[in-house]
């Protein structure tokens, strides 16, 4: 490998390490901002209550004998749970694998029921077999009042149930199943486009098949039975008992759809439908996932499962009426929306979390104004503006190519992906702008460019500095261009990489142009002059000393030497 390729690989390796370390640092800084912003919300802004009064009343309206109007509430989880790392990769990974956790339609492991102990009932989908497997203990009668327990394994496919896996049972491809009610268990297979009901009782092992959904019908069920995602993020507590002055308190029954005559199904579009478990056909709408009020808004009233961080649907029935309460939590965890639907899926009343505004009300209005909790957490609560500015700065320190990718991919990523994303920023201001369907394409792009303006200015400055330093060091033109392009794409990490890998030479003054030149080059990189090496010629001047005295003759008398010897 020649030195040029080696240097290139060295630069790439350094760049990878720099980008990774810088992304980690920026991630934790943004995470800290998010946690502190959530902590700004007062308790009243983490809970929403609605009063579906006329649904709980008689023909003339709400029963005037009621002491308190019926109320349905939803609340966010405490901030300690969020700070504990919910949504981060490690906890999310375990949630995806372990049974019983409600993380929405996304799941890696198909485990529907898991009871601990040697004889516990377990129901799961085996992708290798394409069958749903149930194991457990059955009680087999062996006489009068005598039962023997035996371990059983059953395999269920689209065509039936069998104690052994057989080809004739068919194959499920990627089933969506009810994990709450398993007698019978409702299953939907998107490849087969039909619902199934598997009866696991030992004397009724049968699979009922529903009609195939027409191809032109836009229906894509993603969750059946328990309609819940992020159960640790939001909660719909049991509604209060309906109390009136003349009658005894009537309990309000609420459930995650444990009704015998209908099963709740969530569609990929966010619509909730009722399924008839007998005919396995969609009976009618039950409601939809309401879109929470975010900072920029989205222009849609209905949310898809991947648009929100959490949701929960509860069927509510009381002495006075029946309905469906659906709560959703926004991506950033700052806004909660709660809607109540009647028996035919029409929204009756809805509300979202808000912070009471202080000061004079708007002209023509009375009472205290209420600011949506998301907007308040970004601008109005004490300390919110500082956190917003900090987040804005951190986002603009990211490589511009990541900001661009965040804008393009933001509307398509799952709401919780931002909790563990290092390079893409689905919860950034730029991505929020991309999700605002109310503004047109031009408006969204213009706002995104404005929000990323500091990043663009920074990369221009850094690219100029890199180019100037490259010229000073005498780097080839192609190398300077490559560094400039890399800095434009990757911003600050590219500049840091350049500073770490640039040639470390000490420049000497050029005798011709007076600028710094590299001592390892034959010619000056600025003026092109070679080294001035003086020739080795003797000088024209001489250093003259005293004239040497002439030497005397050699006939000196020897006697003088002899007389001195005596």
């Amino acid at each position: 490998m020649n030195s040029h390729k080696r240097a290139t690989v060295n630069v790439l390796a350094t760049g990878v390490v720099v980008v990774l370390l810088m992304s980690l640092g920026l991630f934790w800084a943004r995470w800290l901002c998010s946690a502190m912003r959530f902590n700004l919300l007062p308790p009243c802004a983490r809970e929403v209550a609605i009063y579906p009064g006329h649904q709980f009343g008689f023909d003339g309206g709400v029963d005037p004998n009621l002491v308190a109007a019926p109320r349905v509430r939803a609340r966010m989880s405490t901030h300690e749970q969020l700070l504990a790392g919910l949504g981060l990769g490690a906890s999310h990974y375990l949630e995806m694998q372990l049974p019983g956790t409600q993380i929405g339609p996304q799941r890696d492991a198909y485990v529907y029921r898991w009871e601990s102990g040697a004889g516990g009932q377990r129901i799961y989908f085996d992708p290798a077999l394409g069958l749903i497997v149930r194991t457990g203990i059955e009680r087999v009668p062996e006489g009068r009042e005598v039962h023997a327990a035996r371990h059983v394994v059953y395999y269920a496919g689209p065509e039936g149930v069998s104690p052994v896996p057989e080809e004739k049972l068919g194959r499920f491809i990627a089933p969506v199943a009810d994990s709450l009610v398993v007698v019978p268990q409702t299953v939907y297979d998107p490849a087969l486009r039909r619902f199934f009901a598997i009866d696991w009782r030992e004397n009724k092992l049968v699979v009922k098949k529903g009609p195939e959904l027409p191809q032109d019908v836009l229906r894509h069920p993603v969750q059946i039975g328990v309609i819940q995602k992020g159960s640790t993020y939001i909660d719909i507590p049991a509604p209060d008992k309906v109390v009136d002055g003349t009658r005894s308190p009537k309990s309000v029954f609420w459930s995650y759809n444990t009704r015998a005559d209908r099963v709740l199904v969530l569609d990929a579009s966010g619509r909730l439908d009722w399924l008839d478990p007998q005919t396995l056909e969609i009976r009618g709408p039950a409601g939809y996932l309401p879109m929470p009020a975010t900072l920029f808004g989205s222009g849609r009233s209905r949310a898809r499962p991947e648009d929100v961080a959490g949701y929960e649907a509860c069927a509510i029935s009381s002495y006075y009426g029946k309905g469906m309460a659906v709560a959703t939590l926004s991506r950033e965890g700052l806004a909660l929306e709660l809607d109540y639907f009647d028996t035919i899926g029409v929204q009756v009343v809805g509300g979202g979390t808000a912070v009471p505004g202080y000061g004079e009300p708007a002209p023509g209005k009375t009472g205290t104004a209420r600011i949506p909790s998301a907007k308040a957490a970004y601008f109005y609560l004490p300390g919110a503006q500082v956190l917003t500015l900090a987040q804005f700065t951190l986002e603009n320190l990211h490589p511009p190519v990541f900001l661009l990718a965040s804008y393009l991919a933001g509307p398509h990523l799952d709401a919780t992906a931002g909790y563990r994303s290092l390079f893409l920023l689905p919860d950034s201001f730029v991505a929020m702008s991309a999700r605002d369907a109310r503004a047109g394409l031009v408006g969204r792009v213009a706002r995104a460019v404005f929000l990323a303006l500091p990043a663009f200015l920074l990369l221009l400055v850094l690219a100029w500095r890199v180019t100037r330093d490259g010229m000073r060091l005498g780097l080839p033109k192609n190398t300077r261009a490559a560094w400039a392009i890399g800095t434009v794409l990757f911003g600050l990490p590219a500049y840091i990489t350049y500073r770490l890998t640039r040639p470390k030479v000490t420049l000497v003054t050029c005798a011709n142009c007076g600028a710094g030149r590299r001592p390892d080059r034959e010619k000056c990189q600025r003026c092109g002059s070679p080294w001035v090496v003086p020739e080795l010629v003797p000088p024209a001047w001489r250093v003259l000393g005293e004239q040497e005295p002439a030497e005397e003759s050699s006939s000196a008398p020897v006697r003088q030497a002899d007389s001195s010897a005596h």
Partner: protein
């Protein structure tokens, strides 16, 4: 090459013994804990020893590089007609050998105890494999990070660099989890650090 590897182990015997000791301790505690409780609970015990092992691997790499730089061992070996590539390869192979010797028995013990006490492996077999592979990649990445920061004569930089890189790698696993995304990032990191370390070592003046 075997002689060079043996010399690397001998020259850094303390740093080699430390992760082996931690691994042995982890295995012992996990076995005692599992059998004393009778219903498993091994996983949390091995999780506690994993960060200590990562620290030990990082210190192994740092001591190898720092000792070489400070005592000019490579200069001595170069006079014996051994190329720098062979010296570096022997160093890395010695480190990888220690990583495998420490991690594999710990992983095997954990899997055995899970099989003995926990529900059947057909569900979390994939989880065990992914977590094991991620921890192995993280351990190798910590070792290479130690090699990277160890090539210095300043103890302050050595300590600061080790702490920074260790925290970064640990937070990478916390953020991305144990799936393919974390493995890809760890593989990218250890490839980049290995190349940078090799480049620095082979181009440094002796």
């Amino acid at each position: 090459m075997l002689t060079l590897i043996a010399r690397e182990i001998r020259d850094n015997i303390v740093s080699v013994a430390l992760p082996c000791l931690v691994s042995a301790l982890g295995i012992t505690v996990a076995v005692i804990f599992a059998f004393s409780r009778g219903n498993g609970g091994t996983f949390p015990v091995t999780i506690m020893f994993t960060p200590i092992l990562l620290l030990a691997f990082c210190s192994l790499g740092a001591s190898q590089a720092y000792g070489d730089r400070a005592n000019r061992i490579s200069s001595l070996l170069a006079t014996l007609g051994i190329t720098r590539n062979r010296i570096f390869a022997a160093r890395v192979l010695a480190g990888l050998l220690i990583v495998l010797i420490c991690l594999v028995p710990l992983a095997v013990t954990t899997i055995f105890l899970l099989w003995r006490f926990a529900p059947p492996l057909e569900f979390y077999g994939r989880m065990v494999a992914e977590i094991s592979l991620t921890v192995l990649l993280a351990a190798v990445a910590c070792y290479f990070a130690g090699l990277l920061v160890g090539w210095t004569t300043s103890k302050a930089w050595l300590l600061a660099g080790c702490v920074l890189l260790l925290l970064s790698l640990a937070s990478l696993v916390v953020i991305k989890g144990f799936g393919p995304a974390a493995m890809a990032l760890l593989a990218l990191f250890l490839g980049a650090t290995l190349w940078y370390t090799w480049h620095t070592f082979t181009s440094a003046s002796l």
